[in-house]
Amino acid sequence: MSMSDTRQHQAAVDALYDEAEHWHVNTGGETIHAKRIRGRWRTIKWMTAGVWLIFFLGPYLRWDGRQAVLFDIPSRQYHLFGVTILPQDFWMLSLLLLFFAILLAVVTALVGRVWCGFFCFQTVWTDIFTWIEEWLEGTPPQRRKLDQAPLSRAKVRIKLTKHLLWILIGFFTGFSFVAWFSDAPALWGAFFLGEANSAVYISVTLFTVGTYILAGYLREQTCFWLCPYARIQGVMLDKTTIVPTYDERRGEPRGRVRKGETEASRTNGDCVDCKQCVAVCPTGIDIRQGQQEGCITCALCIDACDEVMEKVGRPRGLIRYASLDEFAGQAPKALLLRPRVWVYATILVVALSGIFYGMSSLDAIDLKVLHERAPLFVTLSDGSIQNKYTLKMLNKMPEELAVRISVSGPEGLKLVGAEAPVIIHAGGVTPAMVFVKVPKRNLNKAQEPIRFRVEATRPDGLVVESERTSVFVGPDR
């Protein structure tokens, strides 16, 4: 190193240590004002946060003249682009939830709390809120100073602007959420004219207040004390999981860079104890203490440490994505050799195939058959046995259908009450009451299977149908 280089280097290190006085590990007592720095992970974080734009913009997508994705609760229909899903098909929702739950598990097992660090609304919203805070109030020391400063016109102006912006973001969050359940463009008008449903106002208010409090005040305390996922996810890590980790063997014994010490003569480890990793941490923890519940694996400390290592001329990666196995000197286990991966993958595949099966076999009509129980059967004057059924026909098509009902079962059976086609409403269930008569001599058992079939011709000539087996009850034999 040349003279000027050394001086420059020394100046950078001195500045770091001056700053280090300010950074403390989070003990929950004071607001954390994390330092913002640029870096690779910071950029990735912005990009992953961008996924949430879908949440804000999604409701305005149109498809076939209506909202592309619409959870229409009053009419109990869920529009997903070209597909309309009715409550009867909602079993797929449980598979979808299973899929995402397991996806969360598998991602956590492989690369830690990626959800927490990069995607979670709590993290992302807090990030945006503190970004506004920094923009209005300045760097963390300036913010702390402002917090302690006596009330002044400037302070009120800054604080008021900040809180208004926060509330505005909260409002947009609530409104965007509601917009998924209601026609979004129309909702804007209705909302401000006071014509929207009371549920809309309640939801938007709850979201606005909730966002304001959670992202504005509770912040990392949410992850520490409120969030159940935070606790669950920690359990899913194992020794092969790669998470941001401090390389203890390289870093310790940590020690400040002493004046006049050269890289060759130093006795300390690589860690210069500048506390930059604590400074940038949004949850205010010290990554050098190892894996802990407060770590949301946002990787911002990696950026911070790399920057410092660059400054002091030591190799990057003192804090890096690594597994415990790696530090123990073991070669990383191949992905496919981990039983976890197989178990999770199997569940994922099962859930996905279930959803795929469900989506591909969405019937146009769905038939349910309710056998009358009081009385189970009636003896008619000609000696035949009559059973009564209520057919519940669900029409998932957007148009009315004229349904032809037929039935097959014991010999000589006769269907009464469905001579003319039954008109079933679009997007709803239409009941029809029918009777089936069977001569007594043709019944061999007290209960015989009987199969109903409904079919209708759609306007485009396509025949849609549904079948359901029920039971025909007669006297004991």
Partner: protein, 304 residues
């Protein structure tokens, strides 16, 4: 006390017992106290707004004037208003017209279910399944006819069939022969009655009520309807009085139906539900209710 506090500076109240047992000043957290006072305030507000203190005969009424009964009555008003649109339509329609309209029929069936449960089910069973002595309403065997008009008549004016007790009119052998004949008729849907039975049936006056063909039709009208006095159709597979069979048929022949002063006679009375002349025209059910019941009973499966 405070002067010689043996534990100074630990935030105690100065009350010390048994050398070292003392009372500390550890108030609950602020949020807890706030919640506590908030709940006290809620309680005071509640006492002002809602009925609360049981003073005298009735509790204090509260300034809102709310009561469970009022809330219930408002609920009833709301549902009545909702039903009004259907009820208005139904008022101007006959039972047959209602049956022809799927939407109104569905409404009527749902509405009449309660009426049937309250008034009819005790005897006729839920779903018209019948009970021993009480006719099945879900089959197609009607003593008085299964058209809506006839059902309406049966409900509004009631029915009381009569059969003479033949204990003193017929000999035991004749009774056995007729009972045997009734079983044969029942088993074979009217085709296999013995000639002796038929001879007795025709000569002993049974045809007056049961009809020439023993099908309960006194007179067949050209439009397909028939006139009956409620006598059972003996040519089908359905017994009027359970459990049916030889002994049961014999019992009916011997002691008749609705006979006064005949112990063991069959009891078969359908009460009057419409205006009752014997009670000064008071009706148990209004015409609209009876109309709904007609639609309901007609839909059991045997309506004609």
């Amino acid at each position: 006390m405070a002067e010689n506090n043996p534990f100074p500076g630990e935030n105690n109240t100065g009350h010390v017992w048994d050398d070292n047992l003392r009372e500390l000043k550890n108030p609950p957290p602020r949020w807890w106290m706030l919640a506590f006072w908030a709940s006290v305030a809620f309680w005071v507000g509640y006492a002002i707004l809602y009925p609360m203190w049981p003073i005298g005969q009735e509790p204090t009424q509260g300034v809102l004037g709310w009561s469970q009964m009022k809330e219930y009555e408002e609920g009833v008003e709301q549902i009545t208003a909702k039903r009004a649109q259907f009820e208005e339509k139904l008022a101007g329609m006959t039972a047959d017209q209602i049956i022809a309209d799927p939407g109104l029929k569905e409404y009527t069936l749902a509405s009449a279910k309660v009426l049937f449960g309250d008034n009819c089910r005790a005897c006729h069973g839920s779903g018209g399944a019948g009970n021993p002595g009480y006719p099945v309403l879900a089959d197609d065997d009607w003593l008085y006819g299964g058209t809506t008009a006839k059902i309406q008549e049966s409900i509004a004016a009631g029915r009381k069939g009569v059969m003479t007790a033949h204990e003193k009119i017929l000999s035991p052998v004749e009774v056995d022969t007729l009972a045997q004949w009734a079983v044969q008729m029942n088993d074979t849907a009217g085709a296999g009655g013995s000639p002796e039975g038929w001879a007795l049936f025709k000569s002993k006056g049974c045809t007056a009520c049961h009809g020439e063909k023993a099908n309960g039709h006194v007179v067949d009208l050209p439009n397909g309807e028939f006139v009956s006095v409620g006598a059972a159709n003996l040519t089908d597979g359905i017994w009027r009085f359970e459990p049916g069979g030889f002994e049961s048929a014999k019992h009916t022949i011997l002691y008749g139906v609705n006979q006064t002063n005949v112990p063991g006679t069959r009891d078969a009375v359908m009460p009057v539900w419409g205006p009752d002349p014997t009670r000064g025209g008071v009706a148990k059910l209004g015409p609209e209710e009876i109309k709904k019941l007609v639609v309901y009973v007609h839909a059991f499966g045997g309506g004609q």
